[in-house]
Amino acid sequence: MSAITRDEVAHLARLSRLALGEDELDHLAAQLDQIISAVARVQEVTAEEIPPTSHALPLTNVYRADEVRPSLTPEQALAGAPAAEEQRFRVPRILDEEA
């Protein structure tokens, strides 16, 4: 059984806004399947006493004080933007994505 189906790859591509052609889907689905299967080998060595881990460091409760620090200037903030207008980031229209 494959670790990831072609349909799932197509779904992920759509969520990521990647326009993948039929050929690319075939190609990537097979590759991703191999990658996931390879990584899944880790499961072979997991033991009962090792809990699932999301963080490498055994730290909790790292906080900063509620203090204001200098922001960028709008010029700096917008310097890397492909397009800006009225001191705002200008982005292409987004249809049917209203949040």
Binding site: Y63, D66, E98
Partner: protein, 500 residues
């Protein structure tokens, strides 16, 4: 064939039973953002409160704001929630430019606060709204849609984004399904939002201004046939920006969904938008396949494990909460349930309490705010708190009444003057010459004239009909344009007519 687009509310309720769910977002009033040191000032120039962290620039890392976590724990405690011993942030991935990182840091299956409740009152009946969860996340940027006919996203040519709001600490409070409200559903929704706002405001962690977006409600509504046990498909209405709109949005969705169901069609699970001007909702994004946020634990932030000591310290800092305060006030001011409800609904509780603190007695403070000032607020179509008069000024006017310098009628003129911007109560009294005339000499002249003008009435009084003197006192008040000391005038009249 055309089918009706709405069924009248009363009729809809004869056939269907609504189930509600309310998600409320609260921006916390911290100095700095959730994960970076940018300021959070409302209304700043666009993109002046941004940095590499909240712009999602490569190499930047978030660090959690301690005050925000204190704030959400206080909210959780105020909602009678359990504060969990360990939880993580999660990434909510989605493709939309309001978050420059392409994900929002939120919480998924491990919210910080769980299983709470809030008791609310609707028309004298108490409802317990169960709280599913209270979790911590960050707010998104604001988009301006340019082009198109409506200024809305559909038909827009492009959007302009301001990230000042992106990364402001945001607390989401989610109810469990609210059932068995029947035709009270819209009122329950409104009462819940009202009580939630009061509660959060009372603990001082947010200014909860719906008009500025620091409190926002999403209202879920579904209908099921009366007597059914399986809930219907729900819609989620966003953009509900006032307490009144919460009520209207629920009502309007009930009317719309009833028509859909009556026509034998199914309700589509989707996001809808409430329109303040028309009071109806319109379709937004369909949720049937859109919701795939691929949540996973946020690798850039370590887990939170609030110690029990910390939680108890925070519990000890909570002030008197609104429900307890209402009980106390009702007792101290000797109010009936109905009177208390009127005061609360008018938003007069703080004002009356402050007026009492400034020296007025409870009954008078309540009288001025609930009668004279409520009437004027209604006339002007504004909230009581928006009237340009302070509790101190109300107390000062009442002090002049107590001292006999003003009667009620003159006091009302002073209120009028203060509200018209003529100055402080003392300035209005001086400028308008509004002192009670109790000086015998000045009164005597008016009384002589009144007796001469009303000889028949005066004779009755002379003949022993003391009650008739009231008409003469009235005439004196009229002649003095309300400024005579009515009690003293009465004494003098009776004296002059030999009836005392």
């Amino acid at each position: 064939m055309t089918t009706p687009t709405i069924v009248k509310y009363e009729e809809a309720l004869t056939r269907y039973e609504p189930v509600l769910g309310i998600e409320t977002h609260i921006e916390l009033g911290t100095n700095s953002k959730m994960f970076c040191g940018c300021p959070t000032t409302f209304g700043a120039e666009p993109n002046t409160q941004v940095c590499p962290v909240c712009l999602g620039l490569p190499g930047s890392l978030p660090v959690t704001n301690h005050a925000a976590i204190e704030g959400i724990i206080k909210i959780g405690l105020a909602f009678n929630c359990e504060i969990v011993e360990w939880c993580r942030f999660a990434r909510k991935n989605y493709f939309y430019p309001d978050m420059p990182k392409n994900y929002q840091i939120s919480q998924y299956d491990e919210p910080l606060c769980v299983d709470g409740h809030l008791d609310i009152e609707v028309e004298g009946e108490t409802y317990r709204v169960e709280i599913e969860r209270v979790h911590m996340e960050e707010d998104t940027g604001k988009s301006l849609h340019v082009g198109g006919a409506t200024g809305r996203i559909h038909g827009a040519d492009f959007s302009l984004v301001d990230y000042n709001r992106a990364g402001i600490p945001l607390v989401e409070i989610v109810t469990k399904p609210i059932t068995a409200t029947g035709d009270k559903a819209p009122l329950v929704a409104r009462a819940y939002a009202t009580e939630l706002r009061e509660l959060v405001r009372s603990i001082g962690v947010s200014d909860v201004r719906m008009e500025e977006g620091s409190m926002r409600c999403d209202v879920n509504v579904s209908l099921m046939p009366r007597g059914a046990s399986e809930w219907g498909t729900r819609t989620e209405t966003k953009n509900v920006n006032s307490l009144r709109s919460v009520e209207r949005a629920v009502r309007s969705e009930i009317e719309r969904q009833a028509a859909v169901l009556d026509a034998g069609r199914r309700v589509i699970q989707e996001t809808r938008h409430f329109h303040e001007d028309t009071g109806v909702t319109t379709s937004g994004r369909s949720k049937e396949e859109a919701q795939d946020y691929r949540y996973f634990p946020e690798p850039d932030l370590v887990p939170m494990a609030p110690s029990r000591e910390w939680v108890e310290e925070l519990r000890a800092t909570l002030p008197e909460l609104p429900a307890a305060r209402r009980k106390r006030v009702q007792r101290e001011w000797s109010l009936s349930d109905l009177e208390l409800r009127d005061v609360v609904n008018a938003g007069a509780l703080d004002l009356i309490e402050a007026t009492i603190a400034a020296g007025a007695d409870a009954a008078s403070a309540r009288k001025w705010w609930m009668n004279e000032l409520s009437r004027r607020a209604t006339e002007q179509g504004v909230e009581l708190t928006a009237l340009p008069i302070t509790p101190d000024q109300v107390a000062r006017i009442q002090a002049m009444v107590v001292a006999g310098e003003l009667n009620d009628k003159l006091a009302r003129k002073v209120f009028e003057g203060v509200l018209a911007g003529e100055g402080t109560p003392d300035e209005v009294v001086a400028a308008r010459g509004l002192k009670v005339v109790s000086d015998d000499g000045a009164l005597a002249a008016i009384i002589d004239q009144v007796i001469a003008d009303n000889a028949a009435v005066a004779d009755k009084v002379r003949g022993g009909k003391v009650a008739a003197a009231g008409a003469l006192v009235g005439a004196v008040m009229k002649a003095s344009r309300g400024q005579a000391d009515a009690g003293r005038a009465r004494e003098l009249i009776l004296e002059k007519l030999g009836a005392s």
